[in-house]
Symmetry: C2
Subunit: 472 residues, 2 copies
């Protein structure tokens, strides 16, 4: 496999196939998510779904196909998405009277339904979420990061006023911060997008941005305050307590299987994937050592141990493939990012122990069979924490506070720059043309600070430094 | 609402909207699944998913869009599906070189990938499952039962030989029998389909059929042994232990959100839905009784009780809507099929009890607050069992063993007929033209029996009686 340091992009593109996360499909920009990759998504999905439900949202399901005229009702929205649309023109053996768009996102569908379902202030807030596939035609596809079809959740909510909708926008963003940090061990930074990076049709867009191991940023989840833009386009109104008709303020927010790409690029190394235990399909793999009679002797206790670990809530797999050597298996599970590997041979068995090695540690240490469940739980928690700490250290050591253009150029070559910006679109475009870097976020954290634009020396527009970086 | 007895179809079509399970969407034959309906699907899905995983299958995700040429590789398959296809002809602002089909099912996609992933007998069996949306253009749509887009799981497996593939086909059918009986309280009958009712491209198709309260059958899940048809079309081969190249034998099987329609039509009555507790979004609803000060007094203990019930694993909701009368709420939750309703007023509270009524019982009985969790668990189990028993009695009393055409015609007017059939397609067609009844299944259960065709007096072709009925 190409080393990360030599060509990060080649490393990524080889790894997603070698680790059996994905496969190609002949339609431009699409992919197959193989069982090992899909299991990571299921684990992530379960965690996101739990948090979404705990905060009072309910799931529903809206149609895949949208009449073209519905999508056109919000002008900025259709303008932003029209180059990416896939269009059904024929169905049931006939040409359709009106073409149908395969949903690129569902604001227009859900807006139409909210208009029907909401009549009184008592119906608010309406807090909906959908798990779905969406299609956006991609010219520069990349597995997980930008694919023509992708899996995601999209939250859509309606509120009585701006204050309540903004509270929701930020609360949903906070879900993404927690999912990224607590489950994916990705120390994302959250903040608002500059106007040029807003979602088409949004008044404000917020983001969580992760730093990949090549210093680039990955937008890992976004939350939008849509104002009354969609409410006016779809006539989402309610009768207020004072009997006046008012437009709702709506929000939308999404996190997708792109997060799997984020996990790969935040934690992976030249040996392959490094999976956070909370997202690992197998947290522990047991490799029985020995051939012939020895194998027959070792396999039953390996299975017995796996049974005890699984019952203790540790996802454990016994690699019983007889045609492969232990060495091959070690490399295979290393490539696939399994946090902890256990070797069980006749000698270990005689000692009542098993040899443990972690995906990032050096050497092996014996663990007594009796105490294995408790010890491995401890080790898995430590491994999860280590990944977050390591990624935080990496992010911090690749983030520079800069005051000059020279420092800026140097910083965004290998990571992020914290810099003042004038807020002018032309200046943003100019920075991007010169360095490929874009403003990733106006970070939520950090004290107000004034200064002059790192590029054009005009006064700062945002009251604090922005994060700039090259991005996926 | 129109009574069931007057117009079953009108009753169903009104109920799905009134109970807020679904809503309309302008694209022909599509629907929105509202939160209350989607929650039923989530509960069903969780149960199916658990059983699929426990039997060694793994989930994956395959693309929505299929190049037209892939679908054409299996001749019967494309012939069966082509009238129902939705076709993407334009994407990314351009006309596509090859049209893309929105998947109607995924045999062709997964067949192509299996050909890539399988090389040795060691890779078999390959046991895959996918949760997905599929699109089949519907000319006579009906909410949940036949919609242009629907949600389902589709299992796809590959095996070394017919014996192993047939074992899988029947094991998957058995999952559907158990899901239907144990969770949906639907006493389905399982069996094989006659050749005329087979899945396009299958060698054998098996089905589980439920009886609805109008006596019609609902095909509620199917499992197909595909022989080597798809393996040959997609070149799914493996190297056997003797080093020969062999074609895999494949299966596919699916259960969909159509099951929700089955639940409605198996258990519902003139008052509305009747939900099996295991699929009820709310198993218990507490209606606080009293206005003004009394309401303030009753609401906290109602919430406390709901908390205790929820912690005991009983999905409980407090209906705290202040603008609605208790009478309105009772009718509302009756319509929505909640198994158990609890009323809590100041007098009940003083007595340390709550008034319980079940969705099918008459009258109310007091339950002490202290023992409520244990008592309600017992009542919910009893209610679940009652529904299965009631539906079984209904099915049995609407199934007649018939030996003459007159008896047959009478039986399929109100239910099912168990009758001999000659196995000729023309005779099947003739029966359908005369009565609307079709052979639903050659039932798995039941002893071999010989006789003459109920229609044409030719010898029976199946070695036992078939189930005939009108179907959805």
């Amino acid at each position: 496999m190409t080393p990360q340091s030599e060509d990060f992009s080649a490393w990524y593109n080889e790894l997603v196939f070698k680790a059996e996360l994905v496969d190609r499909w002949p339609v431009r920009g699409t992919m197959v998510i193989r069982p090992y990759g899909y299991r990571i998504w299921e684990l992530l999905q379960a965690d996101i779904d739990r948090r979404i439900k705990e905060t009072g949202h309910v799931n529903a399901y809206f149609p895949l196909l949208i009449p073209e005229s519905y999508l056109q009702r919000e002008a900025e929205h259709v303008e932003g998405f029209s180059p990416e649309l896939a269009v059904v023109t024929h169905a049931g053996g006939k040409e359709l009277e009106e073409p149908l768009i395969v949903r690129p996102t569902s604001e227009t569908v859900i807006g139409e339904m909210m208009a029907k379902w909401i009549s009184s202030h008592r119906d608010l807030p309406m807090l909906l979420n959908q798990w779905a596939n969406v299609v956006r035609w991609e010219l520069r596809p990349r597995m997980f990061l930008r694919t023509t079809e992708f899996l995601w959740q999209e939250g859509h909510t309606a509120h009585v006023d701006e204050a309540d909708a903004m509270r929701e926008t930020l609360a949903s963003l906070d879900i993404y911060v927690k999912v990224a940090r607590e489950i994916a061990a990705m120390p994302v930074v959250d903040g608002e997008k500059t106007p040029g990076e807003r979602f088409p049709g949004a008044v404000r867009t917020y983001t969580v941005e992760g730093m990949m191991r090549d210093g680039r940023a990955l937008q890992s989840g976004t939350s939008h305050y849509l104002g009354t833009n969609f409410a006016k386009a779809f006539n989402i109104q309610y009768t207020a307590e004072n009997d006046e008709q008012e437009y709702c303020h709506t929000t939308s927010w999404g996190m997708s299987a792109r997060m799997i790409g984020g996990v790969i690029m935040t934690h992976g190394d030249d040996k392959g994937l490094v999976l956070p235990p909370l997202l690992a399909p197998y947290q522990v793999v047991i490799v029985p050592i020995g051939r012939g009679d020895q194998a027959d002797q070792v396999l039953p206790p390996a299975r017995e141990l796996a049974g005890r670990l699984n019952r203790a809530g540790i996802r454990t797999h016994v690699d019983a493939r007889t045609q492969l050597s232990p060495g091959f298996k070690f490399n295979d599970w290393e490539l696939r990012g399994v946090p902890i590997r256990l070797e069980l041979g006749p000698r270990d068995l005689a000692d009542g122990s098993v040899l443990m090695s972690t995906r990032l540690g050096e050497g092996k240490s014996p663990v007594s069979l009796d105490s294995a469940p408790a010890r491995l739980k401890f080790e898995l928690t430590a491994f999860q924490n280590l990944l977050l700490q390591r990624a935080t250290d990496f992010r911090d050591s690749h983030t520079a506070t800069v005051n000059s253009w020279e420092e800026f150029v140097e910083a965004v070559r290998t990571g992020w720059a914290l810099a003042f910006h004038c807020g002018q679109q032309e200046c943003e475009d100019d920075i991007k043309a010169a360095t490929s870097a874009t403003p990733r976020a106006i970070p939520t954290e950090g004290a107000p600070e004034e200064g002059v634009c790192v590029r054009c020396n005009m006064p700062s527009a945002y009251g604090k430094r922005l994060i700039f970086g090259r991005a996926y």
